[in-house]
Amino acid sequence: MAQAGMSSAAGEGDDKGFLNAQNLMHNMKIITACRTSLCAVAGIATGILGCTGSMGLILYLITYATVSLALLAKMGFDRSDYTAAKKDSGIAGFLLEGLFGLSITFILFWTLAYALVYVY
């Protein structure tokens, strides 16, 4: 009951006031979980297509941007409602955000699928 109507003061403040840190963490969890699982699926798809080397990395960028676009659509194309971004911030920063961390996952599933289809 102490939570009713009170936002926690943690998290970055913007011009108006405080962000609801609980909801922010919840949204970040959703975004990260979606990105991780879909990067794995993208790795499998790239392996099936038989891409090697730079073609595969280009495909990684394209699939990652697609996943981010889908997440943006889920947020109604207004990032400021659900993340800590400022109002009216562009989508370009969000499209390739966090891709270095998930590149290992992508490469893992990519080599797995490539080996299963093309080597065995």
Binding site: M1, A2, A4, G5, M6, S7, D14, K16, G17, F18, L19, N20, N23, L24, H26, N27, I30, A33, C34, S37, L38, V41, A42, I44, A45, G47, I48, L49, G50, T52, T63, T66, V67, A70, L71, A73, K74, M75, S80, D81, Y82, T83, A84, A113, L116, V117, Y118, Y120
Partner: protein, 114 residues
């Protein structure tokens, strides 16, 4: 009850697996036809490529929609606090009131009615 997004994502995975199987099968055809293993540069046939893309897009749509609702991060200015003091302030929580007596009387009335 299973979410629709989960079903769509599962379908996308199945389509992807089927595309992979057909790509592997295609390479076996090449081995049977030419008598030696297919070079690794051979792309799978066009329908397998299209099927892979379709499977991936189905997975994206399914996972993103099944991921759960996003909650708004910026509340109304001022924190959205209500002016109703009785909800939050512990000083207004009364513990000694007439509910005990009331319950006893109601029970007695119900018992008397039977």
């Amino acid at each position: 009850m299973v979410k629709l997004g989960t079903i769509v994502a599962g379908l996308g995975l199945l389509v992807l697996l089927h595309a992979g199987y057909s790509a592997a099968h295609y390479r076996q055809f090449i081995v049977a036809a030419e008598g030696e293993a297919a070079p690794a540069e051979d792309a799978p046939p066009l329908d397998a490529v299209v099927e892979t893309i379709v499977g991936f897009l189905l997975c994206v749509a399914g996972v993103v929609s099944a991921a759960g609702q996003m909650l708004p991060v910026r509340g109304p200015a001022g924190g959205g606090r209500s002016a109703d003091a009785h909800e939050g302030l512990p000083g207004f929580a009364v513990f000694s009131h007439r509910a005990v007596q009331l319950r006893r009387r109601t029970q007695a009335l119900i018992a008397a009615k039977k």
